[in-house]
């Protein structure tokens, strides 16, 4: 049985120092407290910062605990998520002409946290706070594919057949999820509602964990090209918005 991992021990000590100091600390103070060379300590705090567990003030270069620690026990609050994603969700709807959905894992369903109407003036109903099936929507499948720990195993889902295209067998669903992982994007080609399409990408918080899915929705023929792949212009905007929101989730509030 090997002994404790030294760098993990040192990382834990740095977090305790930052938590107990009552003020932001300089690299030199951390190095002195640990009695280690500065480059060694710098390597550790830089890694912790990249994981969102430590935050560095731009102006003073001082270190403090990062926002990732506050959400460690509870995960992201869904209304904090909506608040952070809202501007980019609006921009995505404006840029693609699609409706936008933000969904989080909620037991055996995808909980819709935010919904932006398709900006075409047509009458629409707000779906915020409704539940969508995990296996039959783009955002649901995105959560299954990229957040396997926070969602049920596919074999435990009730694979209700909503349309002729729904992944209603375990084999079909597993194939869809593999394709989503390969593409970095889940799709719905009229699987929940006939003719209604969707595409979704994962939103990742500090450390790369998937906390939500960001999706766009439009008629299948508008969203997908001949080969059944999402049209590049819309897919690229969806990916870009996903990256921007993910970047906001990795920073301190």
């Amino acid at each position: 049985m090997p002994g404790p991992i030294q760098s993990v021990e040192r990382a834990a000590t740095i977090l305790r120092l930052l938590g107990g100091a009552g003020r932001p600390l300089a690299l030199a103070e951390l190095a002195a407290a640990l009695d280690l060379p500065r480059p060694t300590v710098h390597g550790i705090v830089r890694t912790l910062r990249e994981e969102g567990l430590v935050d560095q003030d731009h102006a003073s270069a001082l270190y403090r605990l990062g926002s990732g620690l506050f959400t460690l026990a509870t995960g992201w609050d869904r209304h904090d998520l909506r608040s952070r994603a809202m501007n980019w969700a609006d921009a995505l709807a404006g840029g693609t002409g699609c409706a936008v959905y933000l969904a989080v894992p909620d037991g055996a369903v995808a909980g819709v946290v935010h919904h932006v109407f398709r900006p075409d003036g047509s009458p629409q109903t707000l779906h915020t706070n409704t539940d969508h099936p995990l296996h039959a929507t783009a955002w649901g499948k995105c959560l299954l594919a990229f957040a396997p720990v926070s969602t049920p195993a596919p074999r435990d889902l009730e694979l209700r057949r909503y349309t002729g295209r729904t992944a209603s067998t375990l084999g079909m669903l597993e194939a869809h999820l593999s394709a989503a992982r390969a593409r970095g994007m889940a799709t719905d080609v009229g699987e929940f509602e006939s003719g209604a399409g969707g595409a979704a990408v994962p939103l990742r918080s500090g450390g790369g964990l998937t906390v939500a899915a960001l999706g766009i929705a439009a008629p299948v023929e508008e969203l997908f090209g001949g080969g059944g792949e999402p049209r590049p212009t819309q897919a690229d905007q969806l990916r870009a918005a996903g990256r921007e929101i993910s970047a906001l989730l990795g920073t301190i509030r």
């Binding site: 209304h79 904090d80 608040s83 501007n87 609006d90 932006v116």
Partner: protein
């Protein structure tokens, strides 16, 4: 992005920060840059800004926004300004240096000056000419305070060496290196302008003893005031609006009866009243909505002092939540308010009650009440106060509000927006992009240079991003309205 891109730049000079936003012809935001400025609190009740710091921030955020969009000054067809209203600056015409810090709209030092106007029996003169009764809220008394207290201010003003302006005047003067103008919406908040003629009123100037030669020329909201000599050399400065009027334009409330509400720290409802100047009953304020062309469009304004700031209090002073959005999470732990009501009369009650002696109350507490019920009651307080202002507006004109366009940070709160729809019993709509203030400034500037042909073209840029439909039984609404009214009564006359 192609370098032939033609965009409009907007400066949103707000209470806490200065931002520059770039908008495409379809009204899409392309880039934003922001800088905060210091708040100075020299004494209780006094809040000041350094006008020079604000100018420096403008000079920084504009190039930052251009850089983010990958554009240069040659891509900007016009620059528009939306600003915090009623904040007062005086500066030296020759050196461009402010004589004192700007006195902001939250500052209440002019109480004795306003009381003096009332004691002199000038209330009717002001309400008939400027549209409202004297109050510390407006810029005119602040200018008088500066003339009385800043060494050299009065002599300089009388000699023509010292100039007055609200923030848009100050920024236009610096951008153009010497064009001294204001716009009708900002001028309508000085308490010095005749709301009918849209000119400085000699009688109101005399009553406050303000030398006319220090005042800027009053202009429409959409015209080329001058060309930038600094920051964006060669770009026309072509529009300015007070922030709330800017949101009215950004929300395209161009027809009489259309209403917008901006939910921020406080909330501001503005209703388009067309060519008609509304009465100022129940503490609502008639104001200029906008002047594009030659015919002014008036608006009726009602404000709510505490909306977002009540949530901040709930977060920072009570420590009930870690972030403002989490109030919705907490409120959703319970199905209703459990009989609990919060009346946030922290510094008295404004429109439509006007009870300065009121103080905040929490009523209906029982052992059943949890933090979740309090969170609900905090959000519902904003909804009921919105209804009170809307009811006062309906009573004033007889034309009821049939839908409410909303913007501002609190529109991210789904539960609150549903509550507003429920208690108003009208649909509540949020447009795509919550930057109505900046968009309004961009619109007037773009209109002035022909980038957009007319107001109606802009309507096509307004896209519904969300709509909350009323979903509350009328019996429940009536019961809750009555409970809220009883809670409000309990806040009255606490301060003796």
């Amino acid at each position: 992005m192609s370098t032939s891109e033609r965009v409009v730049a907007a400066i949103d000079q707000g209470t806490t920060s200065t931002r520059c936003l770039l908008f495409s012809r379809s009204g899409r935001m392309l880039a934003v840059a922001q800088r905060e400025h210091r708040q100075h609190y020299p004494e209780p009740g006094r809040v000041e800004h350094d006008a020079e710091e604000i100018w420096r921030n403008v000079a920084r955020v504009v190039p930052e926004a251009l850089k983010r969009a990958g554009l240069g000054p040659e891509n900007i067809v016009a620059l528009g300004i939306a600003n915090q209203r009623e904040t007062t600056v005086i500066w030296n015409r020759h050196t461009g240096v402010p004589l004192a810090r700007a006195i902001t709209w939250q500052d209440t030092r002019t109480g004795p000056i306003v009381a003096g106007l009332v004691a002199d029996g000038l209330t009717d003169l002001y309400s008939e000419t400027s549209g409202f009764n004297p109050a510390t809220y407006f810029a005119g008394p602040r200018l008088r305070w500066l003339l009385d207290h800043v060494p050299g201010a009065r002599e300089g003003a009388e000699a023509g060496d010292v100039l007055f302006g609200t923030i848009e005047s100050w920024l236009i003067w610096r951008l153009t290196r010497g064009v001294h103008v204001t716009d009708v919406t900002n001028a309508s908040r000085t308490m010095l302008m005749d709301l009918r003629t849209l000119e400085w009123s000699p009688r109101l100037l005399e009553a406050l003893d303000v030398p006319e030669r220090m005042l800027p020329e009053i202009r429409s909201n959409a015209e080329v005031y001058g060309v930038c000599a600094d920051v964006l050399p060669g770009v026309p400065v072509a529009g300015a609006l007070g922030d709330q009027q800017a949101a009215l334009v950004g929300q395209t409330c161009f027809a009489p009866g259309e209403v917008k509400c901006t939910y921020g720290t406080g909330a501001f409802l503005l209703k388009n009243t067309g060519p008609r100047i509304a009465g100022s009953a129940q503490g609502l304020i008639p104001t200029v909505g906008y002047l594009v062309g030659t015919e002014p469009v008036y608006a009726l304004e009602g404000s709510i002092a505490m909306t977002g700031s009540l949530v901040q209090w709930f977060r920072d002073s009570l420590g009930m939540i870690d972030t403002a959005p989490q109030i919705e999470t907490l409120a959703m732990t319970v199905p209703d308010n459990g009989g609990c009501y919060v009346v946030p009369a922290f510094s008295g009650l404004y429109a439509p009650h006007w009870r300065p002696g009121a103080r905040g109350v929490i009523v209906g507490l029982t052992s059943y009440i949890t933090r979740g019920h309090l969170a609900r009651a905090v959000l519902e307080a904003t909804a009921w106060q919105t209804r009170e202002v809307v009811e006062a507006m309906n009573a004033e004109s007889g034309i009821p509000v049939t839908r409410l366009k909303v913007d501002g940070g609190m529109t991210a709160d789904h539960l609150l927006m549903q509550s507003v729809a429920d208690v108003l019993d009208v649909p509540v709509e949020r447009p795509l992009g919550s930057e109505a203030v900046s968009l309004g400034a961009a619109y007037v500037a773009g209109l002035a240079v022909g980038h957009w042909s007319d107001l109606e073209v802009l309507r096509a840029n307004w896209h519904r991003a969300a709509m909350w439909r009323p979903d509350m039984a009328s019996a429940v609404r009536e019961r809750e309205r009555e409970n809220w009214a009883r809670a409000v009564e309990r806040s009255y006359d606490w301060v003796r």
